[in-house]
């Protein structure tokens, strides 16, 4: 290293063409149609007549040199040396020769990597960092995902759902995992425990007060030190104060629970995009395999699989059958907590005589 610091080259987003499959480049913007010859494989045909087959492979998202080299060796030997990642951490490996598809799939499967995640399947769960790296996690992310994907492996490698199922997990209520057909998110159930000795030194108190969605935090002197206090009757236990003020510990080994939300949908297909909605809470945060979460997710999926029509996403399906039927079919309890009371919440109430019996 020289003594002079090196100035960064502010190159921004890399140009993808330097790493793109040559057949993609040749037919850029000129594709004609696609079909799915089998689960895990997409077949795209260009207007030029060129064809590509893309094999979709599930990964553990966190990859080290061994996994990267293992997967790259397969891609170099059985495909063309190019790969792209989907938004859900699946790898997509493209070949231009149909005869290469089966050996490529075989090579991935022999290496322990599942092929699937296309069409009406349960694809890889989009997830966050959790205990591995986050500073505010209520649970782990990779572990929940590994445990669930072990259970849902067969739904990844086949296309037996009414439509695609996107599952997400989030290890706090900020919900970095995003909207999902099924979302598994931490839900805190107790107000933060405040370490008053640290607040003055660690937290910018006005920003913490401003961060609270329900104005439950106010400055206070505690034991002669400037600190913050929480009106626990108002507090909704969202944890928004914890990131700007770590002495307001919201995570709790027993009281940080998991909640399950369903029906989020980002696509505009048929219905407009939808946010996911609460169906269950109070689910124990139970590492290393979170069995209660798995059971509930599998139950919801099996009811959806049996009852929904083709092409209905979970949100579309519940809109058609209605929420009373959803709770009846899934045997999940309906509680006062399911009734929206956030701002504008009355829009979510039934202002009609439309009742299903």
């Amino acid at each position: 290293m020289s003594d002079q610091p090196r100035f960064p080259i502010e190159s921004g987003v890399p140009d993808p063409f330097q790493y793109m499959h040559p057949t993609y480049i040749k037919n850029f913007g000129n594709w004609k149609y696609h079909e799915r010859p089998r689960p895990g494989v997409l077949h795209h045909v260009a207007k030029s007549g060129d064809e590509v087959w893309t094999v979709r492979v599930g990964t553990q998202r966190q990859l080290g040199p061994y996994e990267i080299n293992l997967l790259c060796d397969i891609i170099d030997k059985y495909a063309d040396g190019y790969v792209r990642f989907t938004i859900r951490s699946n790898m997509e490996v493209t070949v231009t020769d149909e005869a290469k598809v089966e050996p490529l799939i075989q090579a991935f499967e022999d290496a322990g990597y599942p092929v699937g995640g296309t069409g009406p399947s349960v694809t890889m769960i989009s997830h966050t960092q959790g205990w591995l790296h986050c500073d505010i996690p209520g649970t782990d992310a990779s572990g929940v995902v590994k445990a669930l994907m072990d259970e849902l492996h067969d739904e990844f490698t086949t296309e037996q759902m009414p439509n695609r199922v996107h599952i997400t997990t989030s290890c706090c209520q900020i919900n970095c995992g995003g909207q999902g057909d099924i979302a598994i998110n931490v839900q805190h159930t107790k107000p933060p425990k405040i370490n008053h000795d640290l607040v003055a030194n660690v937290c910018e108190r006005p920003s913490v007060v401003a961060r609270c969605p329900v104005a439950a935090i106010r400055p206070a002197m505690v034991n002669g030190k400037p600190s913050l206090e929480v009106d626990e009757k108002k507090c909704i236990c969202c944890g928004a104060c914890f990131p700007p003020c770590p002495p307001m510990q919201i995570n709790d080994p027993d009281h940080s629970k998991l909640a399950i939300w369903i029906g989020g949908k980002h696509s505009n297909a048929r219905s407009k995009p939808m946010f996911h909605k609460l169906v269950a809470a109070g689910v124990p945060n139970n590492p290393p395999r979170w069995p209660e979460v798995s059971e509930m997710v599998k139950k919801i999926l099996s009811v959806y699989k049996d009852d929904a029509k083709d092409w209905e996403r979970i949100g579309d399906w519940v809109e058609r059958i209605g929420w009373p039927r959803f709770f009846e079919l899934t045997e999940l309890p309906f509680t006062k907590f399911h009734v929206e009371n956030w701002r504008g919440g009355r829009h979510a109430l039934n202002a009609s005589a439309h009742i299903r019996f």
């Binding site: 149609y33 553990q60 986050c134 072990d150």
Partner: protein, 435 residues
């Protein structure tokens, strides 16, 4: 472990090397060990493979096991950056220390993540993946996440000292940091025109133009809060842009969709009329489709809302129209602070053909970010600013006219002053006349 022995155990996701190169003995990890079994590739085996090579990962496994046992996280943030930048690194310092303040897991006491922007569309050559992996193996833990929820490649686990060395090396061969903190964040775009017939835009170009125009706002965080760009080539919105980005660009078209009636007939012959009526015609949200007696499809294009459903089902017969462009929605975000917000339409259609067109979209983004940066409260996303001041005030701030495509229904409340109704009605007529 998988029940059947793999064909080639040394080239399998469950492989653990026999020889240990790290010097520190493993911590006991009975809980994590239970995540080695099962058919899905195990991240725990991956972490252990790394721990065979370096002590940082030995201690990382120790801390992670401790989290599993106590059901709490033990990382705190801090300040780490590279020379010339103010963001892009997620600093992590362990909170686990003994009574004398000595870290319980000293080798991973610093475990920072370097956020790096992926190529638009997440394309890689295997050579480049290996090169990135080699660089990270040299300066960090070896662990890389493809990709984080904002879209970054996340190089997980290194010390403050080596952060700069790693960045210098990969920056030298074409990779730049992403955003962290109150700044323009790393963007995302779908595979789009590179491999998808439904693409209505040059996604990678839009993504790169927008983000690369704001690199100063990315690398030196000084905005009210985060600002995300996402680009999807069609209304299937594979990038979740409406729900997850402040500035969503979605490819669309404004002429008639393309229908290959011969392919429609083949589809009907193959699947049956019932199937087509049930799965295509009846699922059209605006009843814009009907099946003719000769098994061709009739499309009421004036009432088609470009939802993509029929095109998704009949991929050979139906495709987007030829007069393509983009719809822009502003203000999507998740819960913090006022609740979930979807992006809402601010530009119903923008043609993106000439270089001037592309300049217009960049200028629009500049207007928006400038107005928001001037007027937002601290920690307020642009959707929340719009919620607080109203869309009309926001549009006036960025010099855009109202348009009925921006609403899902007209006003219900009569509590509004309408002093200049005639002037506003006149403006509408002028805009209509101007086309």
């Amino acid at each position: 472990m998988a029940e059947q022995t793999p064909k080639n155990p040394e080239k399998h996701s469950t492989y653990l090397p026999k020889e240990k190169h790290s010097t520190k003995p493993f911590h006991k990890t009975p809980m994590l060990d239970q995540l080695e079994d099962g058919p899905w590739p195990s991240f725990v085996i991956g972490l252990k493979r790394l721990a065979m090579e370096n002590d940082m990962m030995v201690d990382l496994l120790g801390q992670l096991e401790h989290s599993y046992e106590t059901r709490l996280g033990y990382w705190k943030g801090g300040t780490v950056s590279v020379f010339g930048y103010g963001g892009g690194i997620i600093p992590r310092f362990t909170e686990l220390a003994d009574e004398d303040g000595k870290p319980l897991f000293p080798e991973s006491k610093e475990f920072h993540t370097v956020r790096v922007q992926p190529p638009a569309g997440n394309h890689y050559s295997t050579d480049m993946l290996r090169q990135l992996s080699n660089s990270w193996d040299k300066y960090g833990s070896g662990l890389i996440a493809f990709h984080g929820q904002t879209g970054n490649i996340m190089f997980i686990g290194t010390t403050t000292e080596k952060t700069q060395d790693f960045f210098d090396e990969i920056n030298g061969y074409g990779w730049d940091l992403g955003g962290a903190g109150p700044c323009v964040r790393t963007g995302m775009s779908c595979v789009g025109a590179a491999r998808c017939e439904q693409s209505c835009a040059n996604e990678q170009k839009i993504h790169r133009l927008l983000v690369n125009n704001f690199l100063d706002d990315m690398h030196r965080p000084a905005l009210p809060y985060k600002f995300k760009f996402k680009v999807s080539g069609c209304p299937n919105d594979c990038m979740n842009s409406i729900q997850r980005s402040d500035f969503a660009v979605i490819g669309t078209w404004r002429d008639d969709m393309n229908v290959d009636q011969e392919e429609v007939k083949k589809f009907v012959a193959d699947k049956g009329r019932d199937y087509v009526v049930e799965n295509v015609v009846n699922l059209c949200p605006t009843n814009a489709l009907s099946l003719n007696d000769d098994d061709t499809l009739n499309v009421d294009n004036r009432n088609c809302v470009r939802c993509m459903h029929c095109i998704n089902v009949m991929t050979k017969a139906l495709s987007p129209g030829n007069d393509k462009g983009v719809t822009i929605l502003l203000g999507g975000k998740r819960t913090l602070k006022i609740g979930d917000l979807m992006g809402t339409v601010i530009v119903p259609f923008m043609k993106l053909e000439t270089e001037e067109d592309y300049e217009r979209i960049v200028e629009l983004a500049e207007e928006i970010i400038d107005f928001w940066a001037e007027n937002a409260l601290e920690h307020e996303r642009v959707g929340e600013t719009i919620d607080r001041i109203g869309l009309v005030n926001f549009l006036e701030g960025i010099d855009l006219e109202v348009d009925p495509h921006m609403i899902s229904e007209s006003r219900q409340s009569s509590y509004i002053r309408m002093d200049k109704w005639d002037e506003e009605a006149e403006k509408w007529k002028e805009r209509q006349a101007a086309g």
